[in-house]
């Protein structure tokens, strides 16, 4: 049992622990922070697996982008300090059962499969290699997915704006409803006066 292995177990414990905390805590802001820690843990796992580039991308995009986005959305939609109601007992039990069953099943499959490691070749990931292969048009080149993903990002950006935009009718409708309410109260008060 060398340090390498111990570090792996520590990292795993950390990321699983914070993951569990993230999905079970009742305070929403804390949940976001635990998620952040969990994602950092995953990044450190990538570092341990000697794929530094992915780890860097993970930190930049996930931790620095998505979690911030989530925190902003928490602020936009509700009080972040308020406690959330927990799920009912029934739901907890059933979910736990389903999850444990699924986990057990998968672990059993993994055990039974017996992965055989290839001996020999070292695993080295140089960023230059990643870059070259990403933009290469040869076999195993990923330039097409690269371009498509950029389209996707564009589409996502526009879509977000469209969905989250307050439409003009909604703005006018808000005003109209207020006006109708006012007229209604005036008429009813006139009727009361007549009676």
């Amino acid at each position: 049992m060398n340090a390498h292995a111990i570090i792996f177990y520590l990292i795993s414990a950390f990321l699983l622990g914070t993951g569990i905390l993230s999905v079970t805590t009742k305070k929403i802001f804390r949940s976001a922070i635990w998620l952040l820690f969990s994602l950092v843990g995953i990044a450190s796992l990538y570092f341990w697996m000697e794929v530094e580039f992915v780890a860097a991308v993970q930190i930049i995009v996930y931790v620095g982008g998505i979690v911030i986005l989530i925190i902003f959305s928490i602020f936009l939609t509700q009080q972040s300090g308020k406690e959330m109601p927990g799920p009912g007992l029934l739901r907890t039990v059933f979910s736990l059962l389903a999850v444990l069953f699924g986990a057990g099943f998968c672990c059993m499959l993994i055990n039974e499969y017996g992965f055989t490691q290839l001996p020999g070749t070292q695993f080295s990931v140089a960023v230059a290699d990643i870059g070259t292969q990403m933009l290469s048009t040869a076999d195993h080149g990923f330039v097409l997915p690269f371009e498509v993903v950029s389209m996707l990002l564009l589409g996502a950006m526009i879509g977000c704006i469209v969905i989250a935009m307050k439409s003009k009718e909604a703005k006018n409708k808000g005003v109209l409803e207020n006006e109708q309410e006012a007229v209604g109260t005036v008429i009813s008060s006139q009727q009361n006066n007549r009676l």
């Binding site: 569990i20 995953i42 959330m84 999850v99 992965f115 990931v125 996707l152 989250a164």
Partner: protein, 107 residues
């Protein structure tokens, strides 16, 4: 450093499986839409770990697993953004982001 034989592939797969099912537990139990989204992110991350682990242990000469995970991260980012936009829209019409309040698509 030869770390390959110390930690077998199966252990890493256990970790990622556990993370996946933790995310699934969150998916089933969370009532708030934002926290639901967080659980989904956990699930996506576990898949990423899987890809990288397989690449490292079974196909060390190639880089396909890494590319997969890069693209997954990208797409996850786009999806999270769109999800937040939907949540904001839903919040506007329902005044709450409780997942049980948005049950119009039922029988």
């Amino acid at each position: 450093m030869n770390s390959l034989s110390e930690i077998p592939l199966a252990h890493i797969l256990f970790v990622s499986t556990a993370l996946f099912f933790i995310g699934m537990y969150g998916l089933f139990t969370r009532k708030n839409l934002v926290t639901l989204l967080m659980a989904i992110e956990l699930m996506l991350n576990s898949v990423n770990i899987n890809f990288v682990a397989f690449n490292k242990y079974l196909y060390p000469g190639k880089l396909d697993g890494i590319f997969f995970s890069l693209f997954i991260i990208t797409i996850a980012a786009a999806e999270a953004a769109v999800a937040i936009a939907i949540i904001i829209n839903l919040y506007r019409s329902h005044q709450s982001i409780d997942v049980d309040d948005a049950t119009e698509m039922k029988y």
